[in-house]
């Protein structure tokens, strides 16, 4: 059988891989997206659907800038996805609140935001500190236990399932080649690119992008990239659909355009275990009902857990291989927020053959790891 040929092979069909693959086919490239099967870790399943800016970048100003760039380009992503897939991802960017349930929480939050914005070179934006009454102006039903919140106009959310479907549909509509059940066994450098063995087939491409989440570590070794990622479990609670009462998203609680209320944002080091645990769900549920007492009688229809892809400092990893030019890695745990930056900004840099200096903060050199050659 002749090997399949493409300009770029994207390894991984989650939110990161699909956004990059979509960006590539939009520019007319021949792209194959190699994905695993039905029971794979799929960090994308754990996404919360936020397009979130506030609070991001303490410790790395470049991340704050990258996040804001993506948020600015998100309306263009939503529009082009709608045009190319017919799917409306229901992007809303009305601003968002990070709600606090104690004075200490609020103090910590304000201190974090202030420190972050005060970093040299940080691309600043205004944020408001709200007291209870201030939060109540956004959410008349807010519970008495809510002490306050930080608010910015830059935050928003999107229907994440429709985003996933739109990316895949648009990719295929623009001529992309999606291959499921094609977990990658081996990547080898060839004279003009890479030979990838996946799904019992050989794929040959000029460039390869590793967007395989937790799988990037093992794959990276094969192309001279050291990708130190580990799993960070997050659990999510979904409530039955309700008539829309939340018109702004919160960092850990939001209501989708269809009415489903989602509660999230736990973080645990649990290895590769994706079972849900009742104490954490109880804590999440307790906070949610203190934020909105009216949710007490609303029913939980499902819970799930997924493994975020975490780098040692929590910031994304974008890097090109020195040992194997044409091989890139893209890894983050905010695949929804960064989808626009991935599709519109990272992709041209990949095609140019090397990442621009403004992305150098995201290289793994910051971890002082030696590269396998």
């Amino acid at each position: 059988m002749n090997p399949e040929e493409s300009d770029v092979a994207v390894i991984g069909g989650g939110l990161v891989g699909a956004a990059i693959a979509y960006g590539l086919v939009r520019l007319g490239k021949r792209v194959v997206m190699l994905d695993e099967g039905d029971i794979a870790f799929r960090a994308a399943r754990g996404n919360f659907g936020l397009v979130w800016v506030q609070g991001k970048g303490l410790g790395m100003p470049a991340y704050g800038a990258w996040t804001q760039l993506s948020a600015r380009q998100w309306p263009a992503l939503a529009e082009s996805l709608r045009a190319e897939s017919g799917v409306d991802v229901s992007l809303e960017q009305p601003g968002g609140l990070h709600v606090c349930l104690s004075e200490r929480e609020l103090e910590q939050r304000v201190a974090t935001m202030t420190r972050m914005l005060g970093q040299p070179g940080f691309e600043g934006y205004p944020f408001e500190t709200l007291d209870h009454a201030g939060v109540a102006r956004y959410f008349p039903q807010i519970g008495p236990a809510v002490v306050g919140a930080t608010h910015t106009l830059l935050d928003g959310h999107v229907n994440a399932l429709r985003l996933f479907r739109a990316l895949h549909a648009a990719f295929v509509a623009l001529g992309g080649n999606y291959r499921a059940n094609h977990g990658v066994d081996r990547i080898a450098r060839e004279s003009v690119g890479f030979a990838i063995d996946a799904g019992g087939r050989r794929h040959v491409s000029v460039q390869v992008v590793l967007a395989a989440g937790l799988g990037n570590a093992k794959l990276g070794d094969q192309v001279g990239l050291t990708v130190p990622v580990r799993p960070m479990r997050g659990q999510i609670i979904a409530l039955e659909r309700a008539r829309r009462f939340m018109h702004y998203p919160m960092g850990a609680l939001r209501q989708t355009d269809e009415g489903t209320v989602l509660i999230g944002d736990s973080q645990e080091e649990a290895g590769f275990d994706t079972t849900v645990g009742t104490p954490i769900l109880a804590t999440m549920a307790d906070r949610a009902q203190r934020i909105f007492p009216l949710l007490r009688d609303v029913r939980i229809t499902r819970t799930w857990a997924a493994l975020r892809v975490m780098s040692p400092d929590g910031f994304p990893i974008y890097e090109q291989s020195q040992a194997a030019p044409g091989a890139f890695v893209a890894s983050c745990h905010s695949g929804v927020t960064l989808a626009a930056a991935h599709a519109f900004d990272l992709v041209p840099q990949i095609l140019a053959g090397s990442l621009e200096p403004r992305l150098s903060a995201f290289s793994t050199e910051r971890f002082h790891v030696s590269k396998a050659v």
């Binding site: 609670i237 409530l239 645990e268 954490i280 109880a282 804590t283 549920a285 007490r296 939980i300 229809t301």
Partner: protein, 480 residues
């Protein structure tokens, strides 16, 4: 002992489901001195096959039949044994603690935690999905639902009722209708005509020498009084605006429409696997029964240590086999917690094993005979597949063409399976649809991976469960 008011903090054994398997298991375990609690979500015992046996207004024995009233004996034994019985109690989560488990139980909207060393899951069977066009219209119900109305409320079909489908339960319910003096407008029999003679000789002989032959003949005879039967129905469609108004069917080369106000559907029962699946029990695809079945050994032991499965939930075999299976499971549980050793278990279980084998004989013939035809398991076009999220067959197939490989990915693509029924009425259909479209088998494609809560519970109830310092740290993440 009758229903308990208060739950003890721990028991040696919890049995889930008060059908024949669960009741027999609780009684057998209690007899061996195992501290046992039986949880059931209904207000009174009996499961579905003996639904309402303590409350039904239909006391004339010939109405519901001897097989039904056999359940009274099981209930009497349950209420007379030392096991605690907790009706109106929904076990919605199971967490492993050491070698045992912590169960989260919902009673009257309040959450309770109970520790147990061993679990017997006897959650029984459910109606197989019957995805025909219009099956979500008001007025379309399962035959099982009609049977529940009969047993619990004395409600029977009036004018304009059509029954459609295939399987022994159909005949049973029609016989019960006939005994109540009720007839329906038509019985549309979807049993594939070619099926009858496909069964292997061994299965035919097994059936002929089983208890089911005599029962079946008698049933079919009584059932005929309930309505004229149209055989070889190859397609069905429910039509109406806001409720069913007519049913269109094809048989004998003709397409016919019947006006109706009620359409009762049934094409067999399948194991209700949600609980076992959520705990992590391995399951396999049974090609003859065309459904997923948990993997169990001869004692009902599942792939999860400490969890035994019993009854139709471990594989469809009927009420009497379920009862024997319950006794077998109780012995397995007693052995697992160290009350008896394996040799004692084997000796004590010999009678129940033989009993079960007797009731299993002939089932395979029924399975082959009544395996629903593919067009009734695998819909096309705008037929709704996922009732909760209103996802159609067309949408499922489109997603497969986009590259979706399995039912869990399908959830992300379409929300299919994300509704409150947790895939009970779409899981099989989705697995078979994807398998057919990809040229694969349901065995390879797999099933939804399920999680707790097994039934929806309120946010307030979940919030009332204990938290830990670790859980707070994981969520609130204040720097220490």
């Amino acid at each position: 002992m009758s229903a308990v008011d208060a739950l003890k903090p721990s028991y040696e054994l919890a049995v889930i489901g008060a059908g024949p398997a669960g009741m027999a298991a609780a009684v057998a375990a209690a007899q061996r001195g195992v501290a046992t609690i039986l949880f059931d979500e209904q207000a009174s015992p009996g499961g579905q096959i003996y639904r309402g046996v303590t409350t039904t207004p239909l006391r004339r024995r010939e109405l519901l039949g001897d097989d039904y009233w056999h359940g009274q004996g099981l209930v009497d034994a349950l209420l007379g044994c030392a096991a605690d019985y907790a009706p109106r109690s929904i076990v919605w989560a199971v967490t492993r603690i050491g070698d045992g488990f912590e169960l989260a139980v919902s009673r009257d909207g309040v959450a309770h935690l109970v520790r147990v060393a061993h679990l017997i899951v006897a959650t029984g069977a459910q109606e197989r999905p019957f995805p025909i066009p219009g099956w979500t219209l008001p007025g379309v119900m399962t035959v099982g639902a009609a049977q529940i109305l009969l047993k619990t409320a004395g409600l029977v079909p009036g004018d304009g009722t059509v029954v459609a489908g295939s399987g022994p339960l159909l005949s049973l319910v029609l016989a019960q209708f006939a005994a109540a003096g009720v007839s329906v407008d038509a019985v549309l029999d979807t049993t594939p005509r070619d099926r009858r003679w496909r069964a292997a000789w061994r299965d035919v002989i097994g059936f002929a020498t089983s208890p089911y032959l005599a029962k079946g003949v008698a049933l079919l005879r009584r059932a005929r009084a309930a309505g004229r039967v149209v055989r070889g129905v190859e397609s069905l469609e429910a039509i109406g605006d806001h409720r069913i108004e007519r049913v269109r069917y094809r048989a004998g080369g003709q397409t016919i429409e019947l006006a109706c106000t009620s359409l009762l559907l049934h094409q067999g029962v399948v194991p209700n696997i949600n609980f076992a699946n959520a705990i992590g029990c391995e399951q396999r695809w049974d090609e003859v029964q065309a459904c997923f079945v948990p993997v169990v050994d001869a004692w009902g032991a599942s792939s999860v240590p400490g969890v035994t499965l019993a009854g139709d939930g471990a594989g469809i075999a009927g009420a009497r086999a379920a009862e024997a299976h319950g006794r077998i499971a109780a012995l397995n549980a007693a052995c697992a917690i160290g009350r008896i050793d394996p040799a004692q278990r084997d000796a004590a279980g010999a009678a129940a094993q033989a009993d079960r084998a007797r009731w299993l004989r002939g089932r395979r013939f029924l399975d082959v005979m009544y395996r629903p035809a593919p067009q009734y398991r695998i819909p096309v076009g705008d037929t709704v597949v996922c009732r909760c999220e209103e996802v159609t067959a067309r949408q499922v197939l489109e997603s497969v063409r986009l590259g979706c490989t399995g039912p869990n990915q399908m959830k992300s693509f379409l929300r299919c399976g994300m509704g409150p029924c947790q895939g009970r009425f779409c899981g099989l259909t989705v697995s078979e649809l994807i398998a057919k479209e990809r040229g694969s088998t349901p065995a390879e494609i797999g099933h939804y991976r399920l999680r707790f809560p097994i039934k929806p519970i309120t946010l307030g109830e979940l919030a009332s469960l204990p938290q830990t310092e670790a859980s707070e740290q994981a969520v609130v993440r204040l720097p220490k």
